[in-house]
């Protein structure tokens, strides 16, 4: 089981908004493949899956705010 965590983006940016999940719970995701789309004040990002596995849980759905270091999902 691995948490998908928002990494530090840049100085002064401590949060982002979840805008789109590329996968649903129970989907198989491949390491390095786009998992979730996020937006900060400055830009829009795609966060890739850190490992291959089953997306067990989405902790923050679209429209929610995520802080740097916070877990967004769990992959097993």
């Amino acid at each position: 089981m691995k948490d998908v965590v928002l990494p530090p983006l840049a100085e002064g940016i401590d949060k982002a908004n979840v805008t789109y999940w590329h996968h649903k719970v129970n989907d198989f995701v491949k390491e390095g493949e786009d998992l979730v789309e996020l937006v900060t004040d400055k830009a829009s990002f795609n966060l890739p899956a850190p490992i291959s596995g089953i997306l067990k849980e989405i902790l923050l759905s679209e429209g929610n705010e995520v802080k740097v270091g916070q877990a967004l999902a769990r992959i097993e």
Binding site: A10, E11, T19, E37, V39, D41, A43, S44, F45
Partner: protein, 315 residues
Amino acid sequence: MQNTFPSWVKKRLISNEDFFAMKRLLSEYSINTVCESGLCPNICECFSRKFATFLILGRICTRACGFCSVKPSAHSGLTLNAAAEWVKKDMPGTVDPEEPGRISDFVKRLNLKYVIITSVTRDDLRDGGASQFVKVVEAVRCISKGVKVEILVPDFGGRRESIEKVLGIRPDIFSHNIETVRRLYPVARSGAGYERSLDLLKTAKDMDSGQLTKSSLMVGLGETGEEILDTIEDLKAAGCDILTIGQYLRPGKDSLDIERFASPEEFERYKTAGEAMGFKFVSSGPYVRSSYLADEIYYKGEERSYERCCAAAIG
């Protein structure tokens, strides 16, 4: 937060152990980077490949450009004399004599082969910080033989002695960003001058025709495509060799709005136009930034000059 980024303006966020190691090390050496201060969306990618643009002369800028997130001093935009008054109160920070040593140690530690040095604008300093640029470059070259050094300088208020001083160190690339089109200078680059910036690039070529020069331009601040092309022509007329063009992204609510997103095709048109005008290399795309993949651009520019020299020699 702006939620309406077109599909081509989405950066992949890759953060691996190399990225975190780079971040930690920069902090350990107390080195500022424009990657962090400028909230650059490419930061994960560049730090992961041990690439950063060092921001010297402190973190507080004496200008307050409408597109930039580097912290302006409360007194940005003051005249030189007034700025000199408040700097006595230590506002943007005194010039740090340890800075050249810290940067050169860092370069040595990571065995970096290509280094970019930039700075905040320091209108409060008599030489605009030119001598600190010289000290940093000399320190880096002294400790790390064969390293390539690109400097991305402020306009030094147009002061000739400062410009000559930094050119005297013969950087591998002398870079100064035009940033935007002539018409938008009053709103986007208050305190700077379109002609002054062009003159800076021209001076570099006049002093030494072999000096490689580079400049960068943003799209999306409200300019027209025609104005972009005019600016590219002006840069060419100033002898600029390398051009980078990217999408403006608003760093925060207080900064200028994004007027539009240029399409990948539009960026491609600028690249084609620039290359047709004779630039040695043009990098153009939504996430292109002044220092993005600067090492690759440098080597491609060099290759292009070499090919041209060979072609000319053959006749």
